[in-house]
Assembly symmetry: C2
Homo-oligomer: 113 residues x 2
DNA sequence: CCTTGACATAAGCCATAGCTTATATTAGTC
DNA sequence: GACTAATATAAGCTATGGCTTATGTCAAGG
């Protein structure tokens, strides 16, 4: 399953959003997702497994609970693919940055004189 | 179909990569994709439709041909969702930027003395 | 205007993702 | 060590996405 397929599911995206706010026990994730999507505990557990298996999240046991944590690896990969198209939206910002840099350089140059 | 589902398909991702290199007629896309994935012209056409219908691409007629062009809207949306997690991978870079900025400031300060 | 070339749409088939219920595992508690 | 709580896995069902073949549309050329 490709990273983008993992993110294609709304429940998994939501789980990642939740984990982005800090570590959470499986049970806590189940509660929220159950409330919002109306699916069962096993369904959520399966989603968590997919996230683990593809490097989007990791889990460590803490007693009987499993604490989940968002993981950079996979998300970063997705991001790096997407950056191929970054020029489509942050061209204006790039231009601004360039302008700012140019401004700084000319100000520095002026100082040296 | 959610934007991430659109990107979940490898053929569609490949098509976007192709279009990122500049506008292309449907036929040109079909040729490449057919060679790489071994699927039929209608299959590719269907993918192009999905890309159009979800704001990833647009097409304008040019005689009998249809010229396809990558479109920012949808890709930007995907990117903006992803940026929620940007701190996971560009934290080091941020730190570096901060360091650079700090360095610049202190160098400027040194000059003034 | 009929044909050819470029592309889109229609209809139908098949694989699989994601759900459910039922059950296994494992950690703490009495 | 039986019981409960927290989570994971198994098995089976169903909906749907993506493919195929067949056909429709529409522009250009003779």
């Amino acid at each position: 399953m490709h990273a983008f397929e993992v993110l294609a599911d709304p429940v998994r995206r939501r789980i990642l959003e939740l984990l982005a706010g800090g570590e959470l026990a499986s049970g806590a994730v189940v509660e929220v997702v159950r409330a919002e999507f109306g699916i069962s505990q096993p369904a959520v557990s399966q989603h968590l497994r997919v996230l683990r298996d593809h490097g989007f999240a990791s889990a460590r046991p803490e007693g009987a609970r499993r604490i989940y944590c968002v993981e950079a690896r996979a998300l970063e990969q997705v991001n790096s693919w997407l950056q191929r198209f970054a020029h489509l939206w942050d061209q204006p910002l790039d231009a601004l940055d360039t302008e700012i840099a140019r401004g700084k350089r000319s100000r520095r140059a002026a100082k040296k004189k």
